[in-house]
Structures are given as C-alpha cells and as structure tokens.
Assembly symmetry: C2
Homo-oligomer: 201 residues x 2
C-alpha cells in the first residue's frame, strides 16, 4: 500500500484532475492549490508569487548561491538566498511535514524529488498528446484557442527549467518516476484506475 503519491504533469494533460480523483477514491488528502495556500500562510508570500515562481528561473541553484546574483529579499532569517530559493526551502519543509503526517496526493512543486526516498511513496508523471492537451486547455481551463499550443509549450518549458534548477535532473525523464502515463492513450478515468490498483496492492 502506497501512502504518498506525487503527481508531476504536463500542462493540459489532466494530471491535476487525475490526482484529485485518485485522492477521492483513496480517501487521501489532496494538495495542489491547498499547498499554495499553506505556503502563503506560513511564509507571508503572495499566492500569485508562489504559484508563478517556477516560471522565470534561469541558471542553477548552485550558481545562484555561489554568485549571490539575484538576492531579492530576506524573508526567512535574513539569509542571502534569492526569494525564490527561500520559497523552495519553506515549501519543501511543508511538503515533508505533510508526508510525515498523513496519506496524501501532492500535485507539482517538485514533490517527487523532495519525497524521493520516502517509504511507501509512488511518484507519477502524466503527459499527453498536444491535440488532447490543447482541447482540454481551451474547453476546461479557458485558454485562448489561437495560441494555446504555444502557451502550453511555454508553460512546460518553464516547469522543466524549474525542475532542472532545483533537482539538477530532467523533468519528464522516466527514471525519475515510478510510473508515467500518457493520459491521451488511456483517458483520465483509466489513469485513475491504473494508479488506484498499483497504490492499493
């Protein structure tokens, strides 16, 4: 029986929906926006900043630490880490705290990396075909149809950069996850069922 499930996902793949349905089916806590709320509460940072902080990262964490190049605030204890890196530290602590306390599904936030060696954890990556993702993004998330593919690619590129920056590994590389699924091949509900089966075995 797996107790902690992390879900990383391409934008538009329905990974968030899969995570939510899986959590409901398992009776587990679900953390996505809920995590952002909690990080915001504990750090005093704006939700919008927390939500967007993965979108504009360049370079590497070690380089930033070494060169101290982007110092943008001193929220936590007056150390000299850039604000985005301080946020990552706080967020990681909260994710570990949640995982120590309750059975849960956590979407995004490099949780797979943060909880990599946790016992009874399952790390999942959801992706999809561009046509399906674009359709979902327009119909369900309200993206503008004209440039939806470009927007999706840009968001995924930002997620990949963010992941690379904090984990020094590749986002979407099979070896970083226990299981990856193409939601366009199987559909949302079948993905939930496949995951439910492996989690409860």
């Amino acid at each position: 029986m797996k107790k902690i499930i992390t879900i990383s996902r391409e934008c538009g793949s329905g990974g968030r929906q899969i995570g939510k349905k899986l959590a409901e089916k398992l009776g587990y806590s679900y953390y996505d926006k809920e995590l952002i709320d909690r990080v915001s509460k504990e750090s005093g940072l704006a939700k919008e900043f927390i939500e967007e902080q993965g979108e504009h990262i360049t370079g590497s964490l070690l380089f930033n630490i070494a060169s101290n190049m982007t110092y943008a605030g001193q929220v936590f204890g007056g150390n000299m880490l850039p604000l985005q890196d301080q946020l990552f530290v706080v967020q990681s602590d909260i994710i570990r705290e949640i995982a120590n306390k309750e059975n849960c599904v956590i979407v995004g936030r490099c949780a797979d990396f943060i909880l990599k060696d946790y016992p009874d954890s399952l790390h999942v990556f959801i992706h999809g075909d561009m046509a399906c993702k674009a359709k979902r993004a327009v119909n369900e998330y309200g993206f503008a149809p004209g440039d939806v593919e470009k927007t999706l690619r840009k968001r995924d590129k930002a997620r990949a950069n963010h992941y690379k920056y904090y984990t020094d590994s590749e986002w979407g590389k099979a070896q970083n996850y226990d299981m990856t699924l193409n939601s366009s091949t199987f559909g949302i509900d079948a993905c939930v069922n496949v995951l439910y089966d492996v989690v409860t075995k």
Copy 2:
C-alpha cells in the same frame, strides 16, 4: 484492446522478461532474439553484428547521410548508406511487416519509434534502480560483479545514443511512451499484470 506492444528497457531492468511473460499471458508473438534471427536471415548479416550495432554510434543519421562518412558496405542495392543505417532500414521494414500481420510484443530495436503511429499499439519503457539491476545482471545474466554498474551504464548509454541517432529524440523520455514503469518499485510480475490490464481493456 492493444494489438502491438513495444518494450524499451534499461539493461538489467527485467524488461525482456516482462515482455516475454506478457506475450505468453496475452497469447501474442514475442520478438526479441527472434527478430535478430529474422533480420539476419533476410539481410545476410551476422547475428552478432545485428545485436551489437547499437553500441558504437556517434553523430546523427542525417550527418552520416550528408557526409557519407562511414560507408562500410553495399549490402542492399548498392546504395551509399553506412551498413548500420542499411540495417536499420531493413529491420524497420521487418518490424512493420510483423506489426501488420500479427499481435505481438517487440522488445528493443527502436520499435516504439518505428510503430509510433500504429493503431492499437502500446509503447512501454521499463527501468529500474541500480542495485536491483546490478543484482539481476550478475545473478541472471552472468555479468562480472566487480564492474557490473559501469557495464550497465555503458550499455544504456549506447542504447540512448543509438535511439538519439535514429529517432532524434531522447531514450527514456516519458513523452515517447504510453507508459513507463520502474520494475524495482513493482516487481516483474506486477509490471506484467499492470500491462496486461491496460492492454486488454
């Protein structure tokens, strides 16, 4: 119901074993060494060459075609493609021929790429934790224990280079497969069962 399953795998992950068991359970044909035998028969090339031809590739297919740099033989029709590329063409034809004719599980040989757009196909990548892979490689495949990890890494690197060369994409990148599984997380039999379930649904 999926009719064609391709399995790509890290060396030592048990992917071949998973493919074989899955084929037996489904009553499908299984192609691995069987494919090499057939390519050898149809091309006149030695089995050893066919088996090893992914191990020493550098550059890219387009570069080789453009520069005609490694011309090594004229097996098929006297064209000027390097032998390894001629082999890839013949092998691809045979893989497509098999897929057109029968329900099957095909292990390796970039079959996922060659059959990417085939209807009712499922493309799978199997990987594993190094400790498990090393143990399996020593106990079941007879690898020398001293340098087993180095050998496994070298073989996977060669597979990745081979894949990159012929597909211009990344071996092991989740987006290239419908499903990827860590065989160390689930075990061989559970991987077979998960795949059986999604294939037969």
